[in-house]
Structures are given as structure tokens and as C-alpha cells.
């Protein structure tokens, strides 16, 4: 029992990793633009289909699918930002609803092109098989290890962009005080477009690594998107540590509770926990004070 629980805990890390990649994109977008992208789940789904197309039509494995999905989704994100979100500037609820429309369109569009049936994507051969977790003889798949490393890498990349580059400094400035940043000569629209494209690209990456674990279908993204909205609500906005904390708490507790009870009860418990937490911290656990 204890060992099985530990194994579950380890599996939880890969769930956390996926959730982290999904939420990173969402959190950066929400932090800067105060916009919830309801199509985020469908961006994940499109990412998974990009991986599928790369595999079936270009005979390229997932290592190629990841950058391809990032680029495709960054492109889609940029288009959505330019064509839709910018038109609704300053009306976050309207934006939320409009992106729901985008979600419907993407799902139906994919259904038209690829049909409603389930698709399968293989993990790269290099990552087949398991290894024993040091200190025990629990098997752990290489692919899940890869997911964890990838998530850490993307987290570092995001951190680096936000805190060590010029554009990141501008992003943080807009995040803290948009009018002031504008007055100081920062092109906030360009920042918005950059942030939205980057966040959408991350959703695409998340989709590609989900593809071998789950089956690929037009409706696959929605539950993940809802989980990542909860990460934002729990973790707060404006600081990466909030996103990491939110993803860790939600991912781990859902996995472990799902093992102890079942999937749905786990979700219910975690949801109740989140509602109780925001009752105490309405801004989430870690939120950057805006000025």
C-alpha cells in the first residue's frame, strides 16, 4: 500500500508537469492581459493534432512535433489576439465569451478535417521502456521523466524570458501597471501579442506531450483547461511561484486522491479545497500586488 502510494506520488509529478506547462501559458496571459482564454483547452487539442499530423504525414516523431506545435499554436494565438481579443480590450468577460466561440469553432473545425474518431500518437522510440526509481524497484517510464524534464526546462525558459531579458522586463512592467508602462513608451499591444502567442505556444507543447498518454480527440482539451483555470485561481497571478504551487497542489492531490478514492471524488475534494482556500485568500496564494 505504502509503496503503491509512493508510485502514485511519482506519477503525480508527470501530471503536475503537464499541468504546469498548460498553466504557465495561461498564467502569463492572464497576468498581463487579465484575460481568460476559454480556447486554451482547444489549443492543447490542436497541439496534439499537430503531433498526429507530423507522425502520419511527415513521418516525424514527437521531438519534431513539439517545436512544430509551438509554432503553429503561437501563430493561431497571434491571430486570435489580433482579430478578436484586441477588439475587446478592457472587457475581460466579453473576451472570455468570445474565446469560447473560438473554442467551438476550433473543435468543430478539427472534427470536420479529421473526423470524430480517436487518434493515436506514439512516444518516440528513444523514450520507450521504464527504469527503476533509485532506492526502490518501482518502474518509472522514460517518457514521463521526459515530460518532467521538459516542464522544468520550459519553466526555466519562461523564468529566463521574464526576469533576464529586455522583453521580459517590459512584460513585467505591463503586468504591474499598464498605463504607466504605456506612458514610459512600452508598446503594450506588442507585449500583449507576444505574451498571447507565447502562452498559446506552450498550450501546443502541452498538447503534443499529452498525445501519447491520452487518445487524441476533438474534445480532449477541455478538462485540462479547467484544471489549469483552477491553478490560476489557486496560485494567484503575476508570479511564477504561484503557478508552480498551484499546479503542484492540484496535480499531486488529484493523483493521490484518485488512487485512494476515485477520479471524480478526487476532483470534487480538490475543488472544495480550492473554494475554501480562496475564501481565505481571494487573490490566490501568491499574487503580485498591482499598482
Amino acid at each position: 500500500m505504502a509503496e503503491a502510494l509512493f508510485a502514485q506520488f511519482l506519477t503525480g509529478f508527470s501530471i503536475v508537469a503537464i499541468l504546469l506547462i498548460i498553466s504557465l501559458g495561461l498564467a502569463v496571459i492572464f497576468g498581463v492581459m487579465r484575460v481568460i482564454n476559454m480556447a486554451h483547452g482547444d489549443f492543447i487539442m490542436v497541439g496534439a493534432y499537430v503531433a498526429f499530423v507530423m507522425q502520419e504525414y511527415f513521418k516525424l516523431n514527437l521531438f519534431w512535433g513539439i517545436p512544430a506545435a509551438f509554432l503553429v499554436l503561437a501563430g493561431i494565438g497571434m491571430t486570435v489576439e489580433w482579430g478578436l481579443i484586441r477588439q475587446l480590450y478592457g472587457r475581460p468577460l466579453e473576451t472570455l465569451l468570445a474565446t469560447w466561440g473560438v473554442s467551438v469553432v476550433l473543435q468543430q473545425g478539427i472534427r470536420l478535417i479529421f473526423g470524430p474518431e480517436l487518434r493515436y500518437v506514439r512516444a518516440p522510440q528513444l523514450l520507450d521502456g521504464d527504469f527503476a526509481v533509485p532506492g526502490s524497484n518501482l518502474p518509472f517510464p522514460y517518457f514521463r521523466l521526459f515530460i518532467i524534464i521538459l516542464a522544468l526546462g520550459l519553466l526555466l525558459l519562461t523564468y529566463w524570458i521574464l526576469y533576464r531579458t529586455d522583453v521580459g522586463m517590459r512584460v513585467r512592467a505591463v503586468n504591474q501597471n499598464r498605463p504607466m508602462a504605456e506612458v514610459l513608451g512600452i508598446d503594450t499591444r506588442r507585449i500583449d501579442r507576444f505574451v498571447f502567442a507565447f502562452g498559446s505556444g506552450l498550450a501546443g507543447v502541452a498538447g503534443t506531450i499529452l498525445a501519447p498518454i491520452k487518445t487524441v480527440s476533438p474534445g480532449m482539451g477541455f478538462p485540462y483547461a479547467v484544471d489549469s483555470y483552477m491553478v490560476i485561481v489557486l496560485g494567484g497571478v503575476g508570479r511564477l511561484v504561484g503557478t508552480v504551487a498551484g499546479a503542484s497542489v492540484i496535480g499531486e492531490s488529484e493523483t493521490v486522491l484518485a488512487f485512494l478514492y476515485n477520479n471524480v471524488i478526487a476532483k470534487l475534494l480538490v475543488f472544495t479545497l480550492i473554494v475554501l482556500v480562496i475564501r481565505v485568500f481571494p487573490q490566490g496564494l501568491f499574487t503580485l500586488q498591482r499598482r
Binding site: 487579465r34 484575460v35 481568460i36 478578436l84 477588439q87 475587446l88 478592457g90 472587457r91 475581460p92 468577460l93 466579453e94 472570455l96 465569451l97 468570445a98 469560447w100 466561440g101 473560438v102 473554442s103 467551438v104 469553432v105 473543435q107 468543430q108 473545425g109 472534427r111 470536420l112 477541455f222 478538462p223 479547467v226 483555470y229 483552477m230 490560476i232 485561481v233 476515485n262 477520479n263 471524480v264 471524488i265 476532483k267 470534487l268 475543488f271 480550492i274 473554494v275 475554501l276 480562496i278 475564501r279 481571494p282 487573490q283
Partner: protein, 364 residues
């Protein structure tokens, strides 16, 4: 009884109600049932309009209350049906319970066999759920996108819960075959009557002093707070009332439709309701009616041939309405009419706040 409407719209209202009343005489049973179901959706949309269009709370999870009310009624009818027709399933318990290894109806579910207990219990339960939920969120100034996202998650979890607890809810297949009230003209009239009463009630609420405060909350929550109104209490009240309305609508829907499934409780219906209200015109009660009938009507006419196309079309319509016509059909027409009347009377058109409200209210 003037329905609380200005005189120039009274005749129109009476006409519409009259047409709906005699509709079954000219249409077949199929269309009558369909219209009955649409009216249930209209009531659902009306409740959303109260909380979103008038108070500015965007909830993406209100199907929970619709579906909750529906499940109470469907379960009750099913228990009754199984008990009175023991030959049907071999024993006196519903088929889905039997499939899941139950040998008797659980004790706590027994009272539900009586529809006159189950239906009010469902409505009260949903009211209580909404009250608790509203108390937790609104008292802490959780508003805007946070509220939308949390209600969305709530709705998703309830849907999964219904699927998971299949021994008690029929799971993925839902509850079917319980002797519905379809093709019953009296029941259709009951639904119509409830719809009219709800509209009258909503009209009373929104035109009262109380309704003004709701709209001021929509326009600027913080300022309403500074004027001394306990904003959270107003929100909780209207949220609870809307939830109970949805539960009534759901109960009638279940009784008429004869089948109920997890879709009636999940995010899909929740958001669909928001789409109807947005298309019809949020902040105008009649918009809920117009939007629902238009979209559902077009769906049933078109999707028989173009099911796939329809989804795409709804998405596009929704985007266009949000971006180009945020007042919806009725809202835009009313705005124009008022403007024209003002100009004809030689007055400058009055400033009108848009129904979209001031959303980025700071919590300060």
C-alpha cells in the same frame, strides 16, 4: 394585469402568449413537445439573464441547477414507474440500479418516490446549493472571470459526478423510460403558464428598486458598495432565486422530455444558455425568450441535415454577436426605438449604459 409592461408592448406580449397558447391546435404533437422543451430552456435563459444581464455575474455553471432540478424529477418519476410496473424490469427497482447491483432502492432515496415531495425538494436543494455557493464566493468579492471559471469547474465536476455515481443516477446513459408527460396538451399549458409567471416575476424584480440596485452592481460594484448597499447580499439573493427558477425549468424539462442525461447538468448547457441570452440581448428579459427560440429553433430546423455545420455556425454567430452587437437583437432594437422616440419628441437621446457593464471593477 398589465404584466408590468409599458402599454405599447402589452399588446405584443398578449399576442405572443396567445399564439403560444393556441400553437398545439395547429401544430402536431412533435412540434408541441419541442416548443414545450424550448420554453423550459427559455426559463433557464431567463434566470441567466437575471444574474448575468442584470447583475453582471457571469456564471458558466448554472446548468447545475437546471440539471439538478431535472434529476430530482426524473429520478422520482423513475422510482414511481418501476414500483408501479414491477413486471417491466423484473423487480420494483429502476433498471439502472439493478444493473449496478442494487437489490433495493436505498432508504434515503425512498421519499423521492412521491413527486410532490421530490419536485419541491429538488427546487429547495438547488436553492440551498446556490445560496451556499454564493455565500462563499460573493462574500469574498470573487467576481468577474474568477467567478466564471469557478462556476465552470463546478459544472464540470457535477457532470462527472453524475456519470460516476451510475447506480443512483443512471450514469452516462442518464435516466430514461419513466413515463413522461409528452404529447399532453395540459402539461404544455402548465409549462407555458409557469413561463409567463416567471417573466412577470422577473419583470417585477427588475423594475423594482431592488432591480435598480442589481443594475448598479452590474455597472459599478465598488461604487454601489460605497453607497452603502451590501452588494454580496443582493448577489446571493438573485443568484439563489435564479437557481430555483432554473430548477423549476429543469424539473418541467425532465417531466416533458422523458429522458435526462449528464449533458443537462454540464458546462455545455451552461454556456449554451449564456449564448442564447447574449444573442437575444442581455439585460432585456424578452431577449432571453427571443434568443433561445431563435437559436434552438434554427438548430432543430438546420441540424437535421447539417449537424456538423451547425456547431461551427453557432460558434461564429456567438463571436460576432459578442464583438459587434453586445446588446443582442432585442437590446439593439430597443435602443434604436428609444432613440427614435426621443428624437421624434425633440429631445436628445438619453445616455444609456450598455448591458456589458463595467467589468474590470477593482477590488480595492
Amino acid at each position: 394585469m398589465s404584466l408590468g409592461l409599458p402599454r405599447r408592448y402589452l399588446a405584443l406580449a398578449v399576442l405572443v402568449i396567445g399564439v403560444l397558447f393556441v400553437f398545439p391546435f395547429y401544430a402536431g404533437d412533435f412540434r408541441m413537445n419541442q416548443l414545450g422543451l424550448f420554453l423550459c430552456f427559455v426559463m433557464f435563459a431567463l434566470s441567466l439573464d437575471l444574474i448575468w444581464g442584470f447583475t453582471g455575474i457571469l456564471s458558466l455553471g448554472n446548468a447545475v441547477y437546471f440539471g439538478g432540478g431535472a434529476y430530482f424529477v426524473a429520478l422520482s418519476l423513475k422510482l414511481k414507474y418501476a414500483a408501479t410496473n414491477p413486471a417491466r424490469y423484473g423487480s420494483g427497482i429502476p433498471d439502472f440500479m439493478e444493473w449496478n447491483g442494487l437489490t433495493a432502492v436505498p432508504v434515503w432515496m425512498r421519499p423521492l418516490e412521491n413527486i410532490w415531495f421530490a419536485a419541491p425538494a429538488g427546487i429547495l436543494a438547488m436553492g440551498l446549493l446556490a445560496f451556499v455557493f454564493g455565500f462563499i464566493t460573493f462574500k469574498r468579492h470573487i467576481y468577474g472571470v474568477y467567478c466564471a471559471v469557478i462556476t465552470l469547474a463546478e459544472s464540470l465536476i457535477f457532470e462527472e459526478l453524475i456519470i460516476e455515481k451510475q447506480a443512483y443516477t443512471g450514469g452516462f446513459n442518464g435516466i430514461t423510460d419513466y413515463g413522461s408527460y409528452s404529447s399532453n396538451i395540459n402539461f404544455y399549458w402548465v409549462i407555458l403558464a409557469v413561463t409567463v409567471v416567471f417573466f412577470w416575476l422577473a419583470r417585477r424584480i427588475t423594475t423594482s428598486h431592488f432591480g435598480m440596485i442589481l443594475q448598479s452592481i452590474r455597472e459599478n460594484e465598488l461604487r454601489s458598495e460605497f453607497f452603502g448597499f451590501e452588494v454580496a447580499n443582493y448577489k446571493i439573493f438573485v443568484f439563489t432565486v435564479a437557481a430555483m427558477m432554473s430548477a423549476v425549468a429543469g424539473g418541467l424539462y425532465a417531466a416533458l422530455n422523458g429522458i435526462i442525461s449528464h449533458q443537462e447538468i454540464g458546462p455545455l448547457l451552461s454556456v449554451e444558455g449564456v449564448i442564447w441570452v447574449a444573442v437575444g440581448g442581455r439585460g432585456t428579459l424578452i431577449g432571453a425568450f427571443v434568443g433561445t427560440i431563435l437559436i434552438k429553433g434554427a438548430e432543430s430546423l438546420l441540424s437535421e441535415q447539417f449537424a456538423w455545420m451547425w456547431g461551427l455556425l453557432v460558434g461564429l454567430i456567438f463571436i460576432l454577436v459578442i464583438v459587434l452587437m453586445p446588446d443582442g437583437i432585442v437590446g439593439t432594437l430597443l435602443r434604436r426605438a428609444r432613440r427614435r422616440r426621443a428624437l421624434a419628441a425633440g429631445r436628445a437621446p438619453a445616455y444609456e449604459p450598455r448591458a456589458t457593464g463595467a467589468e474590470d471593477t477593482p477590488t480595492a
